[in-house]
């Protein structure tokens, strides 16, 4: 398969996200790039992937294309279930979601995410430096899905030792059983996809670990763009660049209007 030479940072994230998803699994899909990645997965190796959208729909075939919103009418047509938010989250809290696919504006080494505020916490909570949209359903997915897949654009200012606010808990402080002790369910962050590579969380310490570098990046370049010390997997490999066909699918079939994947060339 021919390798693409003009894929964008968002496009490689989407391809990586799609590849991590497994066929016939239930994935609770957050808005934005997770929706794009899930649709790409359905069109490629995982036609039986079962997306859940927090507004209520489970398992739509998505044959009318990419939803603009997780409450989009496109998520409803042909769905196997469609009640409302409570039903979607109850199903997740019950343990039916294999994956949760979420983003955040800031991440720490244990995969905790912030999508609430930047600034001085707790004193400045009511007058943040930058007010972000808020949790949406991300913190619920974080607390109840079996495994979560995180997407955060790689940027030293966003990869911090200490978050301004923990919106969506990951491995908390990394101590053994921390999630269980806090009352949560599921194994927590499974993979993190950034603009520079793919990461997992090392079994014992639950610390972020480089697994694959994206083309053009090295362990060193990634560490240099990260505000804490990264672990390095014993067998770090380069993630294959998207193929021409994958990029075509994204641009022509998955997100032809550039709703979430911007059109600017890399």
């Amino acid at each position: 398969m021919t390798v693409s030479t003009d894929y964008t940072a968002q496009e490689i994230i989407v391809v990586a996200g799609a590849k991590i998803l497994e066929n016939n699994k239930i994935v609770f899909v957050g808005t934005g790039l997770p929706m794009v990645a899930s649709l790409l997965a359905k069109l490629t190796h995982a036609p039986g992937l079962i997306p859940v959208f927090e507004a209520g729909a489970m398992g739509p075939p998505l044959k009318h294309g990419l939803p603009i919103s997780v409450g989009d009418s496109k998520t409803g047509t042909g769905a196997s279930y469609m009640k409302g938010l409570n039903a979607a989250f109850e199903l997740t809290q019950r343990g039916f979601a294999d994956f949760g696919f979420i983003g955040g504006a800031e991440v720490d080494m244990y995969g905790n995410l912030n999508s609430t505020m930047m600034g001085d916490y707790p004193d400045g909570y009511q007058k943040p430096k930058v007010r972000l949209p808020g949790s949406g359903g991300a913190s619920d997915m974080a607390a109840s899905c079996e495994r979560t897949i995180l997407i955060v654009p790689h940027d030293k200012k966003k990869f911090n030792e200490k978050l301004s606010y923990i919106t969506s808990p990951g491995h908390l402080d990394g101590t053994p059983g921390a999630r269980y002790k806090a009352g949560m369910q599921g194994k927590g962050p499974y993979r993190l996809i950034t603009t520079k590579g793919i990461f997992d969380f090392e079994e014992k310490t639950k610390r972020m670990r480089i697994l694959h570098t994206f083309p053009g990046e090295t362990i060193e370049s990634i560490q240099a763009a990260t505000g804490f010390e990264l672990l390095v997997a014993p067998d770090v490999t380069q993630f294959a660049p998207p193929t021409v066909e994958e990029v075509r699918l994204i641009r022509e079939e998955v997100d032809p209007n550039g709703v979430f994947v911007k059109r600017a060339a890399k």
Partner: protein
């Protein structure tokens, strides 16, 4: 009852207002326009994920703080997904102009559900682990059955709930197509509920399949037929998002986040809300071509004969 009368009668200064829909889906846009026209003081807004409804209320506060003011927001998410962040949210929050309490989508939905169930609280797992439990009224207890931590969330019982649905009868029995979002819970939880609907139909038609009724009449105080009542948001079976209009409106607010002028935004309110009699007059400003195109888009992916 007209929407004007319903808003005048059921929305009071200082009220906690529950907002139905989800992001830009079935937001009670027409009702919010009417609230802005009439003015409001010291409201608390409660919602899971909302977009145009709070944006229109907040924008009004930004241009006419004497006429419209929000005091507090209990929310999970305020933004427009594909159409971008909410500039009004940033403007009000970053300037410390309102109180707020962060929750998650499930937290807020569950809080409305507790209210709808007549319970003072509901347990959930959602806020455990992170900071939401620290900045909200969440109580974490050890479950008396399992011994493990579990969060108790206080019920939300708004003074008035604002809901837009596809169809209703004159008694307030409501049919919702597509996701219910958290509309039934908000209607049941609220002391009063104002429903706007695309179609007002006979009781016999509405009850012909009782399981289609998502909100039963005892939960509803006023029903008003307002076609396009959630526009420029979407309404299943009726119309898809008018993203262009949403983006244009946000672009009027955005400069104010960085200290820009309020003139353009003020002009928008003067033209589209203060300068018209009712929501029909606002919808009249859109071209028929665009309205029909948004209908066609919805009918295409909804796959249903009219």
């Amino acid at each position: 009852m007209t929407l004007k009368e319903a808003v005048s009668r059921f929305v009071k200064n200082g009220d906690n207002v529950g907002i139905g829909g989800f992001v830009n889906l079935r937001q009670p846009v027409a009702t919010v326009h009417e609230m802005v026209r009439q003015g409001f003081k010291d409201l608390t807004l409660s919602f899971q994920s909302a977009a145009m409804a709070p944006e229109l209320l907040a924008g009004a506060m930004m241009v006419r703080p004497d006429h419209c003011s929000i005091k507090r927001i209990e929310l999970a998410y305020w933004g427009h997904e594909a159409y971008g962040l909410s500039p009004a949210w940033r403007y009000l929050a970053e300037r410390g102009m309102i109180e707020f309490e962060d929750w998650s989508n499930y937290n807020m939905s569950a809080r409305f559900k507790a209210g709808a169930m007549g319970l003072p609280f509901i347990p959930t797992r959602g806020p455990l682990g992170g900071d939401i439990k620290n900045t909200s009224r969440t109580k974490v207890i050890d479950c008396p059955f399992t011994g493990r931590p579990i969060a108790l969330l206080p019920a939300s019982n708004p003074n008035v709930g604002l809901i837009h649905v596809q169809a209703a009868d004159m008694y307030g029995n409501c049919i919702i197509r597509g996701t219910d979002a958290t509309c039934a819970e908000i209607a049941m939880a609220s002391a009063h509920t104002i429903v706007t609907c695309e179609q007002l139909l006979s009781h016999e038609v509405i009850t012909s399949n009782p399981k289609d009724i998502m909100i039963p009449f005892p939960a509803v105080d006023a029903v008003i037929q307002v076609p396009y009542g959630a526009y420029p948001g979407a309404c299943r079976r009726h119309y898809y998002f008018n993203g262009e209009h949403i983006r244009e409106f946000l672009a009027l607010i955005a400069p104010m986040v960085k200290g820009g002028s309020s003139d353009a935004l003020k002009a928008w309110y003067d033209e589209n809300i203060f300068g018209v009699e009712n929501f029909d007059d606002y919808i009249e400003k859109f071209s028929t071509k665009k309205l029909l195109a948004d209908q066609a888009a919805e009918s295409y992916h909804c796959e249903r004969l009219a």
